[in-house]
Structures are given as structure tokens and as C-alpha cells.
């Protein structure tokens, strides 16, 4: 049997190659730098991310087939990559260490490699490549979750995430195996073709169901969310921010490809399941977030489950509108969620960011700017205009109403009302209670920059969403255009 070298288009893979090279470079340089100069690695990382973003922009509208139809550099994948990279960039900025000697090169290298995994998912059109991307991302995240070694909860988070992650990977892999068994294909287009010809193939349906479960775990949608609060609480705060935004967006990429595009015509068979997941995520996440007063990270973790519900609603709406609304919301969510965690880091005491709501008492008096920024992020998460969160929700709900999911949209708006209650709760503490003493410290320049960037993004997308909406619509126009 002759082995033919696959036809690889290196240009389309430029962003992926770039980010891997930077990641490897960081790892290689690490041993050669003295502890006081490790800061260079952080700078190298964010410059690398920026370059990768430029590479993505350069490839805009090129629609390159990377290799034999398994991976595409189309506008959808490029926009997804830009969203992941924005999350990574912000995470690098808000990562702060107790002292320079604690900076580890692996931290940045793993961040970049996790991003690489997401980017693979973003462009993949083949189940095997999707699996590859998920594993690259997840393995890097398992390590990162446990990075706060002095804290046993960090270890617990890592272990829990690893076990649950491995478990969900099992589902995913089994689903892929069943699909392959039924169709003899792993390519999404061909799987879809087979499905259209025999839509009642039970093996295939079971495969798709398992795929849904596996992906549901990764995005932490109810009922596959149990791991999320513990992991989000225990992981170092910047990593929590990263997991709840970029990693979530990464896991949404295959959702978009598979359910909005490949299997769009067969929505009757999967949409009831997705609708159930969406409604449960919105309701259960909201109810659980209501009672979180002990730990702000847990509150944000549960609230992130609600946001998954909104994103699933966009998925259900389908079509170009639904796809564009998901992309817009993912970017808006990246800004506001990372921003919120950045404030938690700002107010926390380096690594000890397990702030209860009481810790926020009177923050407005001592840190007026941080309190203002936090309010903007929280109000945006609650979907109050004029912020990115409002436009995002508006877009998602309008896609839902348009496709006749009025009931789901109403569940969405009602949970938004309840969610405002717990977001306002934090604001009540910050502005309406007497201040308590927290150990004060100077935030790093990078943290302030990350915070500012997130705030500007949140407000900009709220006041002038036009360009972002156009971008989102262009990204899906070719794939899902009507």
C-alpha cells in the first residue's frame, strides 16, 4: 500500500503554527532565564498572541482548505480564533503572581497550547480533528487548574477536572466511534450526507446523542455542569477566567459546525435535547447562583452556566442569525467575564481571591475605579444597556423569536431578571455597605491594562455594536447564509 503525503496548505494553518511555535519557544527559553527575568516570557506570550491575531486577519476571506477537507480556514473559524485569542490575551494580562520567582514558563506555554487546541477545534470539519483539539486543550487545562500548588483546593480542582474531563471524553469518543461505525466516515459533510439519506439510523442517532453529552460536559451545560463550580473555585483565578470564556468558546466551536451546519436540516432529531439543555442551564444555573454568597468565584461559575443556556438558545435558533448571535455573544461574554475576574484578582490578595460577598463591602469608597468597572461588567452580564451583554442578549433573543422559540426567549428574559438580583447583590455590597479593611496592594500594570481592555470592549460593543455585528454576520454568511 502506498502512502500518499496529504495535501497540506501551510498558509491556512499559519495561525496554529505560529501559536505552537511561540508556546514551544516559551518553554525552551524558560530554563535559560534567571528568576528575575522570567517576565520576558509573559511579554513574549502576548506578543505571540497578537501576531497570531494578525495572521488570522490576514487570512480573512481566503477560505483555504487546510488539509483534505478536514480543516478549513474560513471566516467562521477565523472569527472563532480571534475570540479565543482575545480571551487568551486578556488572561495573560490578568495573570499575576505573588512574586517574580513564582513565574513559571510552563504556565504561559500551557496557556498558548490550550489556545492551539481551541484553534484546531475552531477550524476542524472532521470529528477526529475535533477530538484532537479538545484533548490538546483539555490536557493543558488539567495542569493549569492545579497550578496554584500551595492551595490544596487547586489540586482538587485539577483532579476533579481531569476525572470528569476523561469521563466526558469517553462519551465523546464513543459517540464518534458509533458515528464512524454507522457511516464509515468522520468527515462532517459526509456524515451529514449519510444522515440525510437514512435519518432513522439508531446507531447514528445514539452517536450524535453521545457527542452532545460529551460537548455538553465541555461547555458545562446542565445536567453536565457538576464539575464546574468546584473547578472554577479551586483553579487559579486567571485560569478560571480562561476556562469560563475561551475554553467554553472553544467547546462551542464544534457545536456550531455540527449542529448549525452539518446537521442543520435534521434539527427535529436533536433540537428537543438541546432545548432541554438550554432551559435547564438557564433555570438551574440561575437558581444556584442566587444562593452563592460565600464565594464570588462560585457565583460567577454558576452564572456562567446560565450564559451557556443563552448560547444554546442561539444554537437552537439556527441559521445565519443564530450563528452570528452566538459569535457576538461569545466575544461580548469574553470581555465581560474576564473583566469581572480581573476585578476579583485586583481586589483579592494575589492568589487568595476566594472573596465572599462581604469582602466587597464599601469597595466603592476605597477603589472607586475598580468598583465602577466591576459594576459595568456585572450589569453587562445581567444584560442591561448600554453594554455588550445587552446587545448580545438582544441579538440572541431576537434570533430565537424569529425562529419561533418565543417560549424559550421568555424563559431567557425571566432568568435575566432573576440574574440581575444576584449581580445587583454584589453592587449593593460595593456601594451601599460600610467599607471593611482589605490588605491593599498595588496592581500590576498588566492587570490594569487587561481590566481597561475588557472594560473598553464591554462598553464599545454596547454602544457601537455595528462593526461587531457585521463581522459576526460575515463570518457565518458563507457557511450558513440563507
Amino acid at each position: 500500500m502506498n502512502w500518499l503525503a496529504p495535501d497540506i496548505n501551510w498558509l491556512g494553518l499559519a495561525p496554529e503554527i505560529l501559536i505552537v511555535l511561540v508556546g514551544l519557544l516559551v518553554m525552551l527559553l524558560d530554563p535559560f532565564l534567571s528568576a528575575s527575568r522570567k517576565q520576558i516570557l509573559a511579554h513574549l506570550s502576548w506578543v505571540g498572541v497578537l501576531l497570531t491575531m494578525l495572521a488570522c486577519l490576514y487570512l480573512w476571506d481566503s477560505n483555504i482548505d487546510n488539509w483534505e477537507g478536514m480543516s478549513l480556514a474560513d471566516n467562521l473559524s477565523l472569527t472563532l480564533k480571534l475570540i479565543f485569542l482575545s480571551g487568551t490575551l486578556l488572561t495573560i494580562f490578568i495573570s499575576s503572581f505573588r512574586s517574580k520567582s513564582e513565574i513559571h514558563g510552563e504556565y504561559y506555554a500551557l496557556l498558548l497550547l490550550a489556545t492551539f487546541g481551541m484553534m484546531l477545534m475552531g477550524s476542524s470539519t472532521d470529528l477526529v480533528v475535533i477530538f484532537l483539539g479538545i484533548e490538546v486543550m483539555s490536557v493543558a487545562l488539567y495542569v493549569l487548574a492545579g497550578f496554584n500548588r500551595p492551595d490544596p483546593r487547586s489540586g482538587e480542582a485539577s483532579m476533579k477536572y481531569f476525572l470528569m474531563g476523561a469521563f466526558s471524553t469517553g462519551f465523546l469518543l464513543y459517540g464518534i466511534a458509533l458515528i464512524y461505525g454507522a457511516t464509515g466516515q468522520t468527515n462532517l459533510v459526509e456524515v451529514a450526507d449519510y444522515f440525510y439519506s437514512s435519518p432513522t439510523d439508531l446507531v447514528l442517532l445514539a452517536g450524535i446523542g453521545l457527542l452532545l453529552v460529551g460537548l455538553g460536559f465541555k461547555v458545562a451545560s446542565v445536567p453536565f455542569h457538576m464539575w464546574a463550580p468546584d473547578v472554577y473555585e479551586g483553579a487559579p483565578t486567571p485560569i478560571t477566567a480562561f476556562m469560563s470564556t475561551a475554553a467554553k468558546a472553544g467547546a462551542f466551536a464544534p457545536f456550531v459546525r455540527i449542529f448549525l451546519h452539518s446537521l442543520a436540516g435534521l434539527s427535529a432529531s436533536w433540537s428537543p435535547l438541546l432545548a432541554g439543555m438550554a432551559v435547564l442551564s438557564m433555570i438551574v444555573g440561575t437558581l444556584l447562583a442566587l444562593v452563592q454568597r460565600q464565594n464570588i468565584k462560585r457565583l460567577l461559575a454558576y452564572s456562567s452556566i446560565v450564559h451557556v443556556g443563552y448560547l444554546l438558545l442561539g444554537l437552537l435558533s439556527g441559521g445565519a442569525e443564530g450563528g452570528a448571535s452566538i459569535l457576538f455573544y461569545l466575544l461580548a461574554y469574553t470581555f465581560m467575564q474576564v473583566g469581572a475576574f480581573a476585578v476579583v484578582i485586583y481586589l483579592g490578595n494575589r492568589g487568595e481571591e476566594d472573596l465572599s460577598l462581604a469582602h466587597f463591602s464599601g469597595v466603592a469608597v476605597r477603589h472607586p475605579v475598580a468598583a465602577l468597572a466591576f459594576s459595568v461588567f456585572l450589569l453587562s452580564l445581567a444584560g442591561i444597556p448600554p453594554t455588550a451583554g445587552f446587545v448580545g442578549k438582544f441579538y440572541i433573543f431576537s434570533a430565537a423569536v424569529r425562529t419561533g422559540h418565543v417560549g424559550l426567549a421568555i424563559v431567557g428574559v425571566l432568568t435575566s431578571v432573576v440574574s440581575l438580583y444576584y449581580y445587583l447583590g454584589v453592587i449593593v455590597y460595593m456601594y451601599m455597605r460600610d467599607p471593611i479593611e482589605l490588605p491593599a496592594r498595588r496592581p500590576s500594570v498588566a492587570l490594569v491594562m487587561g481590566l481597561a481592555l475588557a472594560a473598553v470592549g464591554t462598553v464599545e460593543m454596547g454602544l457601537f455594536p455595528g462593526n461587531f455585528l457585521d463581522l459576526a454576520q460575515q463570518s457565518v454568511a458563507r457557511l450558513l447564509g440563507s
Binding site: P385, S398, V417, Y431
Partner: protein
């Protein structure tokens, strides 16, 4: 000038807020002055709008329209007609007075307070001027946040409960309205092929009855919570009692009018059939509100909550007049919105002045104040009488027109509502008697300082407005007449078109009834 004047007025308070953000926190006096100057200039500029307003024209005036989010058909679109003009002016008029009233009442976190008040004013002005439904919604919701802070930070002891209740009540209604707005947007697209949130454009739709029913109630719920219509009023006494004086003035004076304005601007022209069907239910709720509000007022121990419950009664009148659906009723309803803003605003200001002197608002703590506070007592008397609707004051004209309108459409409603006027006289005069007359029994009530210059300066414009509207309402009524007529005519036209089975009014019909918007 005419192109940008409206934007200028709407956003000037925002500019002031940004300026104040750059002033040091400790410079409280300077901050107060900048805030006052900003709202004063805003008011003076808005007077220009009043004089330039052409009472003959049926179209929206001072229109600005620019693309905002082009791909969704959302535009930055402002304009005023005879209905919104006066609510707009009421907002700018109350602005300087409220800021002036906080000079000594708000001494902590002055910077944050002034920024909140200025942001609030921009949002409120935007609500009344917006002609794009999306823009309207943005202003409508954006208003919540500064009000939330004003009650929650500078309010009384129960402020946190009150402010969260206020926000959650309002938001529940408005988010359901958002779903209805989105639905309307797509229905319009299905009928006409264009995506737009423009209110004049959407007003051309003639919707099927069932659609009208659902959309009407989604909008109506949001507005009824804001009005507040009985039984959705429970947030109001809490919010009013806990809010600082300036917050109460804006809350009663302007915020509640967003609800009644919404009914008139959206529910009537967009869903006329559903509106007609809702007349009995809403009229009865309005009458219950009038009598219930008045009776509960009578029993209040706290002057501020008395005034708060009286708002429920007054707004009941506004709703009743509007749902009479005739020229007198609607004009009376709009005028009564203004009157309530002036009279109740003045009442809250006076209660605030009493509170600054005695640090209590309980009626039982007062008594015989008129001997030491003759000037305040006089102002209080005038305002109380105007709130009751004594002839010669603004309240009379409004209530008279409303009852006249109600009489024309349904005699029973009119009689029931008129009896509410009597109870209003009881609670207001009884309260006045207990606070101002009689012997001074409490030594703390002796030797209080009468009004100073600043306080007189606050109340004089309000009293002038009370008598002006009371004796000579023509300048007000004449400017709203054309718009009200055309609103009623377009409603008639839409009801007729509904019978003929049309889906939207054609260009010629549209221009004939004059709601068109040819600049």
C-alpha cells in the same frame, strides 16, 4: 441648529456628568454648581424647543435620524410631538429644582449623587424623545441604573430592599416588552420586507387581533408597572419613602410618566383593537387605584408615604382619561401628567424641607407649624390645594378635562372617579391640618427657621406653573391639540383598515392622517 438642538438637550446632562467625573471628590461646592449649571442650561435650551414648536404641524419636529446599527435597521432617531414635548419640558424643568433641593440635603458622596442625577436626566429625556423602538428601550433600561444608585446609596434605612424591589419589578415588565418589541420587528419585516425599529413606520402596521392582544399586554405590563396601575403598585410606596427627596421628585414627577406615556405612544397607535378591548379592565383598575390610593393615603402616618399613595390615585386619573379615548380625555390625561409632576414634585420637596428641619416625617410629630413657618405653610397650602384640584390651580383643569372625557365615554366610570376627588380632599386637608394648624405641643416644633432664599427659589417656579396652568392652560393645550387629534384619527383609520382586512396603511392613507414624518 434645529437639527442638533434636540440631541444637544438630551445629552447635555451626560456631558455634565462626564465633566464632574474629573472634579476632585472633596470639591463638593464646585460639583454642585457644575451640576446645577448643566441642568439649568439644559432647561433654557429646552425652552427654545417650546417656542419653536409648531402647533399646527402633525409631524414630529426637531427630527434627527442617523444610522446606528445599520445591519439591524436600528437608527439614532429623535423627535418630539405635542404629546412628548411637555413631558420632555417637565423633565428639564424639574432638573434644576431637584439639584437645588439637594444643596444641604445631600452632603455625602456628592460627586456620585450628581453624576447619577445627570445620567438619570439624560436617560429620561431620551425616553421621551426617542422615535426608534430600540433606542427607546436602551434609554428606558439605562434609566434604571442611576435610579437604583440614587435610592440605594442616598436613601433611608430600608433603601436596599426598596431599590432592589424597584429594579426587579421594572425589569420584569420591560424584558417581556423587549420580547414583544423583537416580535413586532419581525412581524413588520414579514409584512413590509424591511427591518426597522422606527416608531412612525411601525405605527402603519395593522395587525391581526390575536397578535395585537399578546403584544399589547406585553407592552402594557411594562407600562402598567411603571405607572403604577393597581395592583402592580406595591414597589412605589417603598421606593418613594426610602428615596432621598430629589429621587422622589424625579420618581414621581417624571419616572411614572414613562408608563403613561408608553401607553399613549405605543399601545394606542400600535395595537388599537387590543387597546379598545382593554378599556373596561384598565378603566376599572384605574378607578380602583383612585379610590384605593386615596383611602390608603388617609391612613398613612408618614407624610411621604401619604404623598406616595396619592400618586397611585392621581395616576389612576391619568389612565382613566387616556382610556376614555376622546380629545378631552387624552388632553386632560397629558395635562394631568404634567400637573402631577409639578404638584407632587412640589409636595415631595416641601416634605424634604420639613424633614431637613425636624428629621422626621411622621404627621404625629408635627402640629402648629404654621406659626413658626408661615411662608412654608403658604406654599404648602397652595401645593396641597393644587394636588386636590381646586379651581384656579392646575389640578382642576386636568381633572376636569379627564372627568369630562370619561363622562362622554362612560358615565359610571366618571361618577366613580369623581368621588375619588372628594376623598383626595379629605386626606390632603386632614394631613395639612394636623401638620400646620393647632397648638404647638411638641417643643421641637418651636422656633424653626422659615424658608431661606434657595428654598423659595425652588418653590416659586412651581407655584407659578400651578397658577399658570390653572388660569390659562391654553398655551399648553393648544400645542398638544393637533397631535392628539391626529393620534385619534390615525387610530380610527387603523380600526377601519382592520375591518377591511388590510395589513398596513398605505402611503397615501398614512400621509392623509398625518402621522407621516416628512421633515
Amino acid at each position: 441648529m434645529t437639527d442638533s438642538i434636540l440631541s444637544l438637550v438630551v445629552f447635555l446632562p451626560l456631558v455634565g456628568a462626564v465633566l464632574i467625573a474629573f472634579i476632585q471628590r472633596s470639591q463638593t461646592e464646585f460639583i454642585r454648581r457644575v451640576a446645577f449649571l448643566t441642568v439649568l442650561v439644559t432647561f433654557l435650551l429646552s425652552l427654545y424647543l417650546y417656542f419653536k414648536f409648531d402647533p399646527q404641524s402633525q409631524a414630529y419636529q426637531f427630527v434627527v435620524q442617523k444610522d446606528w446599527i445599520g445591519s439591524l435597521g436600528i437608527s439614532y432617531y429623535l423627535g418630539l410631538d405635542g404629546i412628548s414635548l411637555f413631558l420632555f419640558l417637565l423633565t428639564t424643568f424639574l432638573g434644576p429644582l431637584t439639584i437645588l433641593s439637594t444643596w444641604t440635603a445631600i452632603t455625602e458622596k456628592v460627586k456620585g449623587f450628581m453624576i447619577s442625577m445627570l445620567l438619570l436626566e439624560t436617560a429620561l429625556l431620551g425616553v421621551f424623545a426617542a422615535l426608534d423602538l430600540f433606542l427607546f428601550y436602551v434609554f428606558w433600561e439605562a434609566m434604571l441604573i442611576p435610579m437604583y444608585f440614587v435610592i440605594g446609596i442616598w436613601g433611608g434605612p430600608g433603601r436596599i430592599y426598596a431599590t432592589i424591589k424597584f429594579v426587579l419589578f421594572t425589569l420584569t415588565g420591560s424584558l417581556l416588552m423587549l420580547v414583544a418589541i423583537i416580535a413586532l420587528y419581525f412581524i413588520n419585516q414579514a409584512y413590509t420586507g424591511t427591518y426597522t425599529f422606527s416608531i412612525p413606520e411601525l405605527s402603519r402596521l395593522v395587525l391581526p387581533l390575536k397578535t395585537q392582544f399578546w403584544l399589547f399586554w406585553a407592552f402594557a405590563l411594562a407600562f402598567a408597572i411603571k405607572v403604577p396601575l393597581f395592583p402592580l403598585h406595591t414597589w412605589l410606596p417603598d421606593a418613594h419613602v426610602e428615596a432621598p427627596t430629589a429621587g422622589s421628585v424625579i420618581l414621581a414627577g417624571v419616572l411614572l410618566k414613562m408608563g403613561t406615556y408608553g401607553f399613549l405612544r405605543f399601545c394606542l397607535p400600535l395595537f388599537p383593537n387590543a387597546f379598545l378591548e382593554a378599556v373596561p379592565l384598565i378603566s376599572i383598575l384605574a378607578i380602583i387605584g383612585i379610590t384605593y390610593g386615596a383611602m390608603v393615603s388617609m391612613m398613612q402616618k408618614d407624610i411621604k408615604s401619604l404623598v406616595a399613595y396619592s400618586s397611585v390615585a392621581h395616576l389612576g386619573f391619568v389612565m382613566l382619561g387616556m382610556f376614555a379615548l376622546n380629545q378631552q380625555g387624552i388632553e386632560g390625561s397629558i395635562l394631568q401628567m404634567i400637573n402631577h409632576g409639578i404638584s407632587t414634585g412640589a409636595l415631595f420637596l416641601i416634605v424634604g424641607m420639613l424633614y431637613e428641619r425636624r428629621h422626621t416625617r411622621l404627621i404625629a410629630d408635627f402640629g402648629g407649624l404654621s406659626s413658626s413657618l408661615p411662608v412654608l405653610a403658604t406654599f404648602f397650602m397652595i401645593v396641597a390645594l393644587s394636588s386636590i384640584g381646586l379651581p384656579g390651580t392646575n389640578g382642576f383643569v386636568g381633572e376636569f378635562l379627564i372627568i369630562l372625557g370619561a363622562f362622554k365615554s362612560n358615565v359610571t366610570y366618571a361618577v366613580l372617579a369623581a368621588s375619588g376627588v372628594i376623598i383626595a380632599a379629605v386626606y390632603m386637608l386632614w394631613m395639612y391640618q394636623r401638620v400646620m394648624f393647632g397648638q404647638v405641643t411638641n417643643p421641637a416644633n418651636q422656633g424653626l427657621k422659615d424658608l431661606n432664599k434657595r428654598e423659595k427659589l425652588i418653590l416659586i417656579p412651581l407655584v407659578i406653573a400651578i397658577f399658570w396652568i390653572g388660569f390659562y392652560p391654553k398655551p399648553f393645550l393648544s400645542k398638544m391639540e393637533t397631535s392628539v387629534t391626529s393620534l385619534l384619527e390615525s387610530t380610527e383609520a387603523k380600526l377601519a383598515a382592520q375591518k377591511e382586512g388590510k395589513t398596513y396603511l398605505s402611503n397615501s392613507e398614512f400621509e392623509m392622517i398625518g402621522v407621516s414624518n416628512n421633515k
